[in-house]
Amino acid sequence: MPVLKAGWSSLSNWWNNRITRRHFVTRRGKNILAVFSRSVRKKNTMNPTRYRGAIRPVAAIVLLTLLPFGTPKAEQSAPKAAVQNPFAGRADLVDEGRSLFNQYCSHCHGPNAVQGERPRDLRRLGIRYGDKAPAVFYETVSTGLTNVGMPSWKGVLTDDVLWRMFTYLQTVQTQP
C-alpha cells in the first residue's frame, strides 16, 4: 500500500518538524495518576524553558493507586544522569562520610577507599562513569551486584547515609 505509506511518512515528517521534543507530565490525585504531554514547538527552541504547547491528555490513563507499584514507576524511568548528590560540595560532611564508608564498605573497598583490586576501586568512579557516577553509585549500592559479590544495602543504609559516603568519595577521586 504505497499511497498510505507515503501519506503516513508525510504526516510524521510534518509532526517531527513541528515538534522538537515531547515532555510527559504526571499529575497525581488521591486515587488517580493521569499522564499528559506538553510539546515544544520548534520556534520556541530559543527559549526552551518556556512551553508554548498546550497541555493535553495523551491517553486516558487512570491508575488505581491501590496498586503499590503504580507511583514509583515514574520515578524509576527518570534519566540516570539526573541523579545527583544532594550534598555535593559539602565539606562539612566529608569526615562523617569517610567514617561511614570505613564502617560499611572498607572490608571490600579498602580503608579510605585504598585497595588494590581495580574493579572495586571507588576512587575511579569519576574516570569510569563521568557525570553518571552519582547515579551508578546510588543504583549499585541500593540494588547490589550480587553475582559479583556486591550485596544490596537497601533497608540497611538510608539515602542520607549513602550520599554522605559519596560526598566523601568525591574527595578521593583519582584524576585521569
Binding site: 567514617s99 572490608h107 579498602g110 585504598v114 585497595q115 588494590g116 559479590g149 556486591m150 550485596p151
Partner: protein, 563 residues
Amino acid sequence: MKPINRILIAGVLGATFALATSVNAQSGKEWTMYGGDYANTRYSSLNQINTKNVGKLRVAWIRSLGSLESQEATPVVVGDTMYVSTSSGPRYVVALNAKDGTIKWKYEPELPRDFMSTVCCGLASRGVAYANGRVFVTRLDAKMVALDAKTGKELWSTTVMEYQLGHSITSPPLIVKDLVVTGYAGGEYGVRGALQAYRQDTGEMVWKTHTIPGPGEPGNESWKGDSWKIGGGSTWYVGSYDPKLNLVYWSTSNAGPWGGHTRGNDSSDIGPYTNLHTASQLAFDGDTGKIVWHYQMTPADVWDYDGVNEAVLADLSIGGRKVPALMKADRNGFFYVLNRENGNLLSAEPFVNVNWAKRIDKATGRPVEDPAKRPQLKKWARNVCPNLFGGKNWEPMSYSLQTGLVYIPTFNLCMDIAGKEEEYEAGKFYLASEFDLDKADAGGHLSELLAWNPITQKRVWGIKEDLPILGGAMSTAGGLMFYGDPRGILKAVDAMNGAILWKFGVGTGIVQSPITYMADGKQYLAVVAGRIKGPPSFLGKIGQRVIDASAEGGLVVAFELVE
C-alpha cells in the same frame, strides 16, 4: 657414626615419636585429610626428599584449576588419586592422577548466582574430605554433598544452612567414624554458630550443637538481652579429632557484631557478659555432639580475635610427664597449650607482639586486659597489636614430630578500632565497628615464619618477610619445612635452623601449605596456588602490595626429585 647405627637411632627415635603421639602419624604415603592427620600436624613421615637432596626438586606436572580468586585448598591424596576443590563455590572439584596430574573426573556444582554476596572474605574452598569411597564437598551456598570417589557422581546433597541469611561453608568437613561433621561461616552476618553431624551414607543429620547456648542452657546468661540470637561464634574453619577420647575439637569465631556494646558492658569490666562460647576452643562428644569442655581465649571479644584457628594435637613432655596436649596459635597473639582431656590451661605466652592484654592469668585462664586497648562505642582504641588478622590467621601451622617445633605463619600488624552504632538486618553484613588495619608493627617486616618451642613457649628462629599473608606450613621427616608466600615463591627450609635450601616461583601467590605423598615408590611435593583476593582489601596500602605481588591464578604444581 656408622650408617647402621644412624639407621638404628633413627628407627628408635621414630618409634618413640610414633608411640608418643598416637593421634598423629597418619600422614605417610597418602595425605588423607586437610591437616594431614586428625591431629592437624601437617607433618609427614616421608623422608625421600630431605635436607641433602631438596635442591634437586623439579616440576613433575602442572594442572590449571579453571577458576581464579583465592585458592586455599589442601588437596587430599588417597591411593593414586588427588582430590582438589577450586575457589568460587567451589567452581569445580577434580580427581587427578597423583602421578601425572591427568584428570579422572570433574564435579561442577549448580550454584545460585547470588551466593557471593553473603561471603565475607574471599570465595574460598579449603578442600574436601574422604571416607569409605565417598568425597564430601562443602560449598559457599552452605550445602554439603557426597560424591562417589570413583566417578564424581553426586550421591546426596543437603542444605546445612540458608545462604541467604549469611551462612556459607569455606572449609572441608571432618570424618568422625560413620559421621561427617561440618561447621559454617557467618560471624560477620549475625549468625548463631553451630556444629552439625551427618550420616556419611545418607546425608541424614544426626546431631546439631549450637556454640552459643540458648535460654535455660548454661552460658546463655553471658549475653545481654537477646544478643545471643545473632552473636556469631561461627565454626568456619576445621576440626581435629582424638579417636581414643572420642572428642571432636572445633573452635569458634569472634562474637558478633564486632562492636561489643550490643552484647555486654562495653568495658574491660566484663561482668557476666563473656559471650560464651565465642572465640573459644570447644571439645564435642563425637557420638552425641554434646560440649564436653570449653576454654574461651577472648572473653567479650571486640577486636575480631576470631578463635577458629586449628587445634593441633600432640602428646608433649611437660614437667617430666607426658601430657595429652592441644596447641593453638590464636589470633589474639597468645600460643595456648591446653590439656585436651579437660581443657585445663597448661601455658599461654605471646608469640607475636601483643599489647591489648598484658598476660594470660594462669589461675582464671583469662587475659589481663589493657583497658586503653579495648574499643568502645564511638571510642577509638589506637595502635592495638595484633590487628584483627591476628598473630596468626587460618593459614595452618605445622608441628614437626622430628624437631618438636611448631612452624607458624605470623603477622606483624596493628590497628585502630572503634565501636559504631549499626542496625542488624538478616543476611546483611553486620560489624558495628570501624577500623584501620593499614598499620605495620615495628621491625620493618609484615610477617614472619616462626619456629616455636611449644614446651618452653619460646621462639627458636624466624624468617622475616616484607609482605603479609604467608601460606601455611608443612614439615617432614626429611628434616624440612615448606611454606609459600604472596609472590608465589615456594620455599624449602631446614627445619632445625631456618636456612632456606630451595625455592621455586609458581607464578601466582600461595596461601595454603603444600602436601607430600608417595606414588609408585616416589615421593612428590604438591602445592595449590592462586593469589588471595578478598582479605587484602582490609589492609589498604599494605593490601595493595599483596595484590600487586602476583597475578590471580589457579594451579596445582607437583614436584619430584630429578638426579
